[in-house]
């Protein structure tokens, strides 16, 4: 059970109030119609499944209903940081 800091409410709340909404930083192509099938398929279906640092979209569903990003370690379940939509993560996996 995670203890999650909602960057909009500026409070720690229980995981029960949140849910994950998939990988973060997947912008919708600005001109979908010019995408090839392969490009569109990649946008639609291909997701990372890292062991370690991962950036995810979460929503404070039973709270402020706002989305935010979370950098999470999928191995240790550590939440490294949360940040608002449009912001960049300060912690990224070493490549």
């Amino acid at each position: 059970m995670y203890h999650i800091y909602c960057p909009h409410c500026a409070e720690y709340r229980e995981e029960e109030e949140f849910h994950a909404a998939g990988q973060a930083h997947l912008p919708r192509p600005l001109d979908p119609d010019s995408c090839t099938d392969e490009e569109w398929g990649t946008y639609l279906f291909f997701r990372k499944n890292p062991r370690g640092i991962h950036h995810e979209l979460w929503v404070h569903a039973a709270g402020c209903r706002k989305f935010f990003n979370m950098t999470r370690d999928t191995q240790t379940y550590e939440i490294k940081e949360v940040y608002k939509i449009g912001e960049k993560p300060s912690i990224v996996a070493e490549s």
Partner: protein, 1005 residues
């Protein structure tokens, strides 16, 4: 006094309070303060069960959570049955009813025991896999037989009369374990004013101090415990939880505690009290002071009743005043083990010998034993025990100092009890729950907690610090460390003085050698509960299971309700020896929640019966009940399904309701439809992006049907949206899709198009929606409105803000039946009033209430889809024949546009939604039936699509259906066949799904 093993004095029991309990139908006496196990031992009960696989007689081995054998069925009545209760942790109460759970027909005369005796070698590890898997068809029969023979306890067949609670906490420091280290940590934290919780699985605080003769400041240790508990109890910032097992340590310092509030009082909890409570704690810091378990040694026939772990013997003597036998042989690899023999001797019974596997023993406890004249045999081990239902004697032999072989002559001794110890195993289970791997330590011959990311501290036995003075100072240090991390002031604490014993190093020994090879020696049990022997582990390793995780799964070691608390390390040692590796090289299995089993009641808490899941009711629900409606669950909503009259069958009711709507007027409670209020200057633009059709020109006062797709182009919801103002819309969604659609809108707004000014709010519950539909609906409604609702003044697909039955209402002229319809939306709390008014004036038109089933039939007659029934996430609007609802020319590439333009989505032979008319008009195809083009094809027949909606239409006099057919839109008039499970085949003609009024004239009058 019939308690033949009870001492006259001593222990923490109250001899003035005699308690009666029963075991396997026979009554016995015990005392207040006893556990069920101590009372059984006091009464000389040797046999508590039969083993899982070999059905060998088993007795009580331990005195706490680690007990593998005394796992009993409790309960005086059917409803109060509790399976798999450890007798060592169950406090005795008057009237307690217990029974052994394995042994068939009884624990004394057991059929499987014969198999175990005769065919021990016929049941190697993997026996069940190897024997019972073939033929597979018989597995169910085998399983029943095995369960009966093996016995795993049983669940009650009646409802539990007790209630269970959940409670949430936040605290600064949670201390797990109230032994010397835990109490010192708690007192330290408490004195600084921190919010402290301390939980312990036992009925009273003190841990090992409750069963020791050690002193603190020269006084019995229990006195110090009492003073600390008194001080802690006086603090307002401290919560003390006895009888509370910390059963799980989860991420981010979330800890679950299973408190047994009344299990010690009676079979059923006293009135108004919860039987058990699950505490859910978010702790800033956790101090694990969980102590250590004594680890037995593995030797021949070590499961014969009378074989126990050494520290348990001390606990029964010192804490319960029970000596569990007359003649003791103690086998030890370390100094601590001597204590059991000292306590036994002091209780006035005979110690036949202390068998120390080391060649020398000069520590304080060994010297004390020598001083009392106890026979100490050095450099030797008990290689084998004799006896059936109780130990009768032992074979002792000298062993090599690497512990691998017997080096001399066997000597026989008579004894009825064998206590053994291979040293302490730190109770590291909780530290493993969050994924931390334990680390082997050669010095203490055991695993210590590994690195963790949790805010976790450890103190005392869990760190391999077994001396009292060390445990106390570690507890104090852990408390101080927590305080400094929390930024709280340090406190003063004068620790009581404990005697420091001189210790010799322990010997690293787990598996005692025998004169015969392990495979031929008498069975040497590693895991009692799962009947895993040293020979079995050796065999598993020889068969190629080298990873300890595989050995575990193959042999079932550690899979019992005791999770291998006693056996796992011995098992790893046996595997390490045969694999010629060290224990750390062999690796360890790690422990998962729960530490000890918990009841389903505690997991469920109050979330059962009526409170299991919220239910949602419309404002007219009571009317529906009075009218005898049958209900259907739609999400959490209770919706009227149909309204039977008298003894009417469901089909008769549906026929009547359908005819009423088409011929006069019917009414549906549509309040459950999802409603989302959308406002903002970019609301219209936003709608255009999330719906497939056009919204730019929808005028104020108009309504429009919309389809919503995912980015893959597949339909996921639909509904009508009304333009309330130029910047104000009301969207309706399917009943079940409301929450999902709202989140869908939010995620696109918040993450993709934050520049659009638009706001969403759910208003589903704010409105009651009453759908009046049928040719007489206008006549009926006109009697209750303040407005001219003629077709000219209020045309189809318009909405009006008017007054209905004196109440402000939004009325939508939209239709899901194909009939002239008015959807009346009023504030939810006016719903019943308007509903009843409609029935007052509707009597002359025979206004007929109908439910969801008639709604489904009527829309199917019109070929209207239901998202989620006729769609499944794999169909796009063109598949549904709804290309008219896709505005491909919209300037913005709306959600779904690119997806439905993918190559695979453009195939001509996709499964497409069509109408299906059976050749025999009376036949109704079952929904879900799979169609084929060639009814004579070999099985497996190529399937071409399934039926999604299928009904009897009383209005049309024949069955109607919709379904997917490969390339169906270009196969009008052709046949498709539905072979059914009973061998019959239904033939249907592919047709338009619009069976009634294809031009839509009836709704437009």
């Amino acid at each position: 006094m019939t308690q033949k093993n009870r001492l006259q004095n001593g222990g923490r029991i109250d001899r003035s309070q005699s308690l009666t309990f029963s075991y396997n139908g026979k009554e016995y006496q015990g005392f207040k303060g006893d556990t069920l196990a101590s009372a059984m031992l006091a009464n000389g009960i040797d046999l508590v069960g039969r083993s899982f696989k070999y059905s060998r007689p088993r007795g009580i081995v331990a005195a706490g959570a680690e007990e593998p054998n005394a796992v009993l069925q409790l309960g005086a009545t059917e409803a109060t049955q509790v399976p798999n209760v450890r007798a060592t942790q169950q406090e005795l109460f008057n009237g307690l009813v217990s029974a052994s759970t394995n042994g068939w027909p009884s624990v004394e005369t057991d059929i499987m025991g014969m198999v175990g005796k005769l065919g021990g070698n016929l049941m190697p590890p993997g026996f069940y896999y190897k024997t019972f898997m073939f033929p597979q068809s018989l597995w169910e029969n085998y399983e029943t037989m095995i369960r009966k023979a093996a016995g795993l306890g049983r669940s009650p067949k009646k409802n539990d009369p007790d209630s269970y609670d959940h409670i949430n906490h936040h605290c600064d420091v949670l201390i797990v374990g109230a032994g010397p280290a835990g109490l010192a940590a708690a007192l330290t934290a408490a004195r600084s004013g921190a919010r402290v919780m301390i939980a312990d699985e036992q009925n009273e605080f003190g841990g090992c101090l409750l069963s020791t003769k050690e002193t603190l400041d020269g006084k019995p240790a229990a006195e110090w415990v009492a003073s600390v508990v008194a001080e802690l109890s006086a603090f307002e910032n401290v919560i003390l939880l006895p009888r509370s097992t910390v059963n799980g340590y989860h991420d981010h310092n979330f800890v679950t505690i299973h408190e047994r509030c009344t299990d010690h009082l009676a079979d059923i909890a006293p009135a108004l009290q919860a039987r058990q409570r699950m505490h859910k704690v978010r702790a800033k810091w956790v101090v694990l002071a969980t102590g250590a378990h004594d680890r037995p040694l593995v030797y021949g026939n070590n499961d014969v009743p009378g074989c126990m772990v050494a520290s348990a013997v001390s606990t029964y003597i010192n804490r319960y005043g029970v000596v569990p036998g007359n003649e003791l042989v103690l086998m030890t690899t370390n100094d601590y083990g001597y204590q059991a023999a000292l306590d036994w001797h002091e209780a006035g019974r005979r110690v036949a010998a202390i068998v120390d596997t080391r060649t020398a023993a000069n520590g304080s406890r060994a010297q004390a034993a020598r001083a009392k004249g106890i026979n100490i045999i050095l450099g030797s081990a008990v290689i084998e025990v004799q006896g059936g239902k109780r130990v009768t004697g032992v074979s002792i032999a000298p062993i090599s100092q690497d512990g691998n072989k017997v080096t001399g002559a066997i000597k026989a001794l008579s004894a009825d009890t064998v206590a053994s110890t291979g040293g302490w195993s730190p109770v590291i289970h909780l530290s493993c729950h969050t994924g931390s791997r334990p680390i082997w330590n050669d010095e203490i011959v055991g695993f210590l907690p590994g690195k963790t990311l949790q805010k976790q501290l450890t103190a005392g036995g869990i760190n391999g610090q077994y001396e009292l003075a060390a445990a106390l100072s570690e507890g104090f240090a852990a408390g101080q460390k927590a305080l400094s991390e929390l930024g709280l002031p340090a406190v003063e604490l004068v620790l009581p003085k404990a005697k420091v014993a001189v210790q010799d190093a322990p010997m690293s020994l787990f598996h005692i050698p025998h004169i015969k090879p392990t495979s031929q020696a008498p069975k040497q049990f590693v895991d009692y509960q799962n009947d895993v022997t040293a020979a079995g582990i050796e065999l598993a390793c020889r068969e190629g299971f080298e990873s300890i995780e595989h050995v575990k799964r193959y042999t079932a070691m550690g899979f019992g309700t005791d999770q291998g608390k006693l056996g796992n390390i011995n098992g790893m040692a046996v595997a390490a020896k045969i694999l010629n590796k060290t224990i750390p090289e062999t690796g360890t299995t790690i422990f998962r929640p729960n530490y000890t089993p918990i009841t389903f009641g505690a997991v469920a808490g109050r979330h059962r019966g009526e409170l299991f899941d919220p239910k949602r009711y419309s404002a007219m629900h009571q009317w529906h009940i009075k009218r005898g409606a049958k209900f259907e669950d739609v999400g959490q909503w209770k919706r009227p399904w149909y309204f039977p009259q008298g003894a009417e069958s469901m089909q008769d009711a549906l026929n009547r309701e359908c005819l009423a709507v088409r011929n006069s007027v019917g009414i549906l409670d549509a309040s459950t439809l999802g409603k989302i209020d959308i406002q903002g200057k970019d609301a219209r633009e936003f709608l255009g992006r999330v719906y497939t059709n056009a919204w730019a020109k929808l005028a104020v006062g108009k309504c429009r049907y919309g389809l919503m797709c995912g980015e893959d182009g597949m339909v996921f919801d639909d509904g009508v949206t009304a333009c309330l103002g130029d910047q104000h819309f009301l969207m309706t969604t399917t009943t079940g899709g409301a929450a999902r659609v709202l989140e869908w809108l939010e995620i696109y707004h918040q993450t993709e198009w934050p520049e659009l000014e638009v706001y969403f709010n759910t208003v589903t519950d704010h409105w009651s929606t009453l759908t009046v539909t049928g040719p007489n609906s206008r006549k009926l409604l006109s009697e209750l409105v303040d407005y001219d609702i003629t077709n000219e003044n209020f045309p189809y697909m318009d909405w009006k803000q008017i007054t209905v039955a004196g109440v402000p209402a939004r009325v939508f002229r939209i239709s899901f039946t194909g009939e002239l319809s008015f959807e009346i939306n009023v504030q939810a709390n006016y719903g019943m009033h308007v509903w009843e008014k409609l029935f007052e004036v509707g009597a002359k038109y025979s206004l007929t209430p109908y439910g969801t089933e008639t709604m489904h039939i009527l829309r199917a007659e019109k070929g209207f889809i239901i998202a989620g029934q006729d769609t499944d996430g794999s169909v796009h609007p063109h598949d549904l024949g709804m290309s008219w609802c896709v505005a491909a020319k919209k300037p913005f590439s709306f959600i779904g546009k690119r997806g439905m333009a993918r190559q695979d989505c453009m195939r001509e032979d996709r499964k497409q939604l069509v109408g299906l008319k059976t050749k025999d008009p009376k036949q109704v195809i079952p929904e879900g039936a799979q169609g084929v083009f060639d009814r004579t094809a070999q099985i497996p027949m190529p399937m071409v699509g399934h039926v999604t909606s299928s009904y009897w239409s009383e209005n049309l006099g024949h069955s109607i259906a919709m379904g997917f057919v490969k390339g169906g839109l270009s196969k009008m008039g052709e046949s498709v066949f539905y072979p059914l499970a009973d061998g019959s085949v239904i033939e249907a003609e592919i047709c338009s799904p619009i069976f009634l009024d294809p031009k839509g004239e009836r709704q437009n009058v």
